[in-house]
């Protein structure tokens, strides 16, 4: 039988601040969902997507659609990262140009 003993386990040093940052990232509504203009999608279709995905009423959906059309983009939601990613996927699956970014 060997008399050698195993060396004590080496603890991996924790990266300072990471867990706290991740928790803050997950719960803070700091992620903007931005829809960008394109020449192909119909205005009525964009209104429909905003109502269906984001739950907007007609007036709010129309206002954001017109902002996209006239100004080139519209901030349609500021959410948690998880929720923003969900909107990102859903809106893009409908064929609209959409990005998400952390608000400054």
């Amino acid at each position: 039988m060997s008399t050698e003993t195993l060396p004590p386990p080496v603890e991996k040093p924790q990266e300072a601040g990471r867990p706290a940052e991740k928790i803050q990232d997950a719960f803070e509504k700091g992620w903007n969902v931005i829809v960008w203009n394109d020449p192909v999608n119909l205005m009525t279709y964009v209104v429909h997507v905003f109502m269906r995905v984001l739950g907007f009423n007609k007036e709010k959906a129309t206002r954001h659609m017109l902002e996209v059309h006239h100004k080139g983009k519209s901030l349609v939601a500021t959410e948690t990262r998880e929720r923003a990613e969900f909107y990102h996927q859903q809106i893009q699956a409908f064929g609209l140009n959409v990005t998400i970014e952390q608000s400054s």
């Binding site: 192909v40 119909l42 279709y45 429909h48 007609k58 129309t62 996927q89 893009q92 699956a93």
Partner: protein, 176 residues
């Protein structure tokens, strides 16, 4: 072409010429939905599977790959419906044809038609100027392939308008 919604179900009625166009479009969509993103023409892939949002969200390469796969899965989930409609439109008669669907299927169908508009615009490099030419003589200056694509983009806009009018009349009648 007209659509009627009754008791949660939508019936789309198409004439013979519209049926031929829709069947050809559906066959193209099915083929393109089955094609891996990297095998699509680059401008199309950049629209259908845009990763601009992944970059702005600072996603890793692995997360971006998963993102593209999830978008492809959403498109492929429409395949069975589109294949059924394509079969139903194979009739060669001169009379009208009907496609019957529930509202979820109608929304998926409409989105697939919209995808084909995006496909054609990207594939044939048709932007705002050309799309606005649809009703103008300027379209005559385009090559036959681009003119055909422009015609299909316009025809599918009409089809989407018809579907949306029945499916979501509130959205379909926005005013400034």
């Amino acid at each position: 072409m007209h659509a009627v919604k009754r008791k949660g179900r939508l019936t789309l009625t198409v004439q013979a010429g519209e049926r031929r166009l829709l069947r050809r479009v559906l066959e193209a969509i099915i083929r393109n939905y089955k094609t891996p993103p990297e095998a699509l023409p680059s401008p199309v892939s950049q629209v259908w599977y845009s990763t601009a949002g992944c970059r702005s969200a600072r996603m890793s390469d692995e997360q971006t790959g998963e993102w593209i796969a999830s978008l492809r899965a959403i498109r492929q989930s429409r395949l069975r419906l589109l294949q059924r409609f394509a079969r139903q439109l194979k009739s060669t008669g001169k009379g009208n044809s009907e496609l019957r669907m529930n509202t979820d299927s109608a929304a998926a169908f409409m989105t697939a038609l919209n995808d084909h508009r995006l496909f054609l615009a990207a594939r044939h490099n048709l932007g705002e100027a050309e799309i606005n030419w649809f009703y103008l003589d300027s379209a005559e200056s385009l090559t036959p392939a681009r003119r055909k694509a422009l015609f299909e983009i316009g025809a599918l806009a009409f089809a989407i308008g018809v579907l949306l009018g029945a499916l979501d009349p509130v959205a379909a009648s926005w005013d400034e």
